[in-house]
Amino acid sequence: MDGRRRRYSFCFALLALLLLALLALNLGVGSVRVTAAELLEALRLRGDGGTAARIVWSLRLPRLIAAALLGGALAVSGFLLQTFFANPIAGPFVLGISSGAKLTVALTLIAALSRGIVLSSAALIAAAFLGSMLAMGFILPVSARVRRMSLLVVCGVMIGYICNAVTELLVTFADDANIVNLHNWAMGSFSGIRWANVRVMVWVVIAGVSLSFLLAKPMSAYQLGEGYAQNLGVNLRRFRLQLILLSSVLSACVTAFAGPVSFVGVAVPHLMKSLFKTAKPLVMIPACFLGGAVFCLFCDLLARTMFAPTELNISSVTAIFGAPVVIWMLLRRKAGT
């Protein structure tokens, strides 16, 4: 028991350390190098200093906060979905939920742009949430019918393709100068996030993750199977609804601001399970949040700097690191059975 606790503390400390290091790196590294003194100045003056300080304050800081928060939200959302479907490769991206959100956000953006309306962050989240729920509305009946986890994922990927196709179509036929911008977002990126966005997403993500943490107990019962969960006093209908709503809100928040980000939702929970050697929700929810933050900060750092000044879209980087994890997981699972 004590050995376990020691392991948890060690892993949490490790994640916190990585998080701090990556936060510092993300602030300092970029096409403009920033010294420690300039960093401090930027934080003190809130962007009133020189060019470097302004870059840090108005570009890098909101961006890295967003990358950390949204990465964490995505990983937690993935963990919730994996619990819900009892399927370790379920995640908002794989199941087409991110693509559903992308579709409705694109629709809303195009409609708003053509009328010259500027959308608020909350409106974007609401649109993404609607899309997530729509995609969920397709995947739930499928999951009721198929018990094979691979089939569920294939259906999710198909739903994702359909949504992507419709989004592409919309983007192609909606001629507007802002479409370029939209296209950038549709590929997934943390760039262009402003303080106004961050202020909204902080509340949504913190609320979503905290509520998920409060579901840790019924989740642990649900991990045994539905029958046992019900016998232990879990109100299945209510609990399932809570899981779906929370995971949708979290992944919708990500899609609203950064577009669809691939593989974080599947790879991070798996990496955390391997690191902590447990699947207990009480440990996994904070671990996934921290792990997702670390993972996305790392990937965003690469996306910004690898081919600077050209930026990669975040999904290409997360896929490079995330997809092999998923493949490795599938192979190991196969070997185990």
Binding site: L214, K217, S220, L224, G225, G227, N231, G233, V234, A279
Partner: protein, 341 residues
């Protein structure tokens, strides 16, 4: 006579409005063991699911301590009633102690953190089913038989008044099966826990139960103590067998009966036969593990495997005393084997 704990009256159970069993009425008192027997698909599991409120009844009422089951709160019910199902348990990265600890769910706080008292309850429950040695082992690495013992500990840990068990011994070998049933009897006698379960093994059902419920053709065909119900002729009717397939042996006490299936293609006894092919009611020789000193007829195959193909030693009533006399020796052997794992 103790007061009635579980009262089932005129219950219909089934899926999607279509009933599998109709007109089920029986009652269970504290410390009583009631066993459902009958062929596969007769509705035993469906009935158990309805009693655990997993399925809504199609008609009729179920009361627990005089309170309607349907009106009870989730928390209250989970402290009174524990289940063990045939559902495959997913227990990712969980140790056996973790799995057993889920039984403490109704007693822990908002986040489900275990207190010292909870941990003690987990340890006690595991000791009761002789699974203490498995405590830190991964649940996913256990054999099916070991899993069943851990799942019983999990149910015990929930401190229920009523245990509902669906084929709890299906993966246990004969030693552990009898040990499991002895544990159940102890729970019933000492803690007053009532047990309603389904069993495939008639000899076990007859030995351990206070009441047998025979499920057949969409209804409860007979209810009563094993001694009143089990006759060769009735068993043949219940399982739709050919006449003369089963012999009943009568003990001097009158209520202990043992059966052998003469129609079994492996009769009188067997080894190296796939479990799915077993149809006899005493399919494993409990003495097999004793090697050379079992007392029956056997030979060794070329591969060095003990084969008792033409031995009917455990089926013969006159040998039961000798079988039971060797019980402690067998239990010790079984425990040694477990500890070695």
């Amino acid at each position: 006579m103790k007061k009635i704990m579980l009262d089932v009256s005129d219950l219909s159970v089934g899926y999607g409005g279509e009933s599998v069993l109709r007109g089920v009425s029986f009652s269970v008192r504290p410390g009583e063991i009631v066993t459902l027997i009958g062929p596969n698909g007769a509705g035993k599991s469906t009935l158990l699911k309805t009693l655990s409120r997993r399925l809504a009844p199609l008609a009729g009422t179920v009361t627990l301590d005089g309170e309607a089951l349907s009106a009870m709160g989730e928390g209250a019910l989970s402290r009174r009633l524990a289940i063990m199902t045939t559902e495959r348990v997913r227990a990712e990265l969980m140790s056996c102690a973790d799995v057993v600890a889920t039984g403490r769910y109704p007693y822990t706080g908002r986040l489900g953190i275990l207190s010292d008292a909870d941990r003690q309850a987990v340890a006690d429950a595991m000791a009761l089913v002789h699974a203490s040695a498995l405590s830190e082992q991964r649940f996913s690495e256990l054999s099916d038989g070991q899993r069943q013992r851990v799942m019983l500990a999990r149910a015990i840990c929930q401190e229920p008044e009523l245990l509902l068990l669906d084929e709890p011994t299906s993966f246990l070998d004969v030693k552990h099966r009898l040990e499991f049933l002895t544990t159940l009897q102890k729970l019933a006698r000492e803690k007053g826990i009532a047990v309603v379960m389904s069993l495939h093994e008639l000899d076990c059902a007859a030995r351990v139960s206070d009441t047998l419920l025979c499920v057949r053709d969409g209804r409860i065909d007979r209810i009563g103590p094993p001694g009143e119900i089990l006759s060769s002729a009735y068993i043949e009717t219940l399982y739709n067998m050919e006449k003369g397939s089963y012999d009943a042996f009568f003990g001097s006490a009158g209520d202990e009966r043992f059966f052998q299936n003469r129609a079994c293609k492996f009769f009188p006894c067997h080894s190296g036969v796939a479990e799915a092919d077993f149809s006899c009611l005493f399919c494993y020789c409990p003495l097999y593990a004793l090697g050379d000193s079992c007392g029956g007829r056997f030979r060794y195959t070329e591969a060095g495997v003990k084969s008792c193909l033409d031995c009917d030693f455990p089926h013969r009533r006159e040998n039961y005393d000798r079988l039971l006399a060797r019980w402690p020796e067998l239990m010790a052997l079984a425990r040694e084997k477990d500890d070695g794992v």
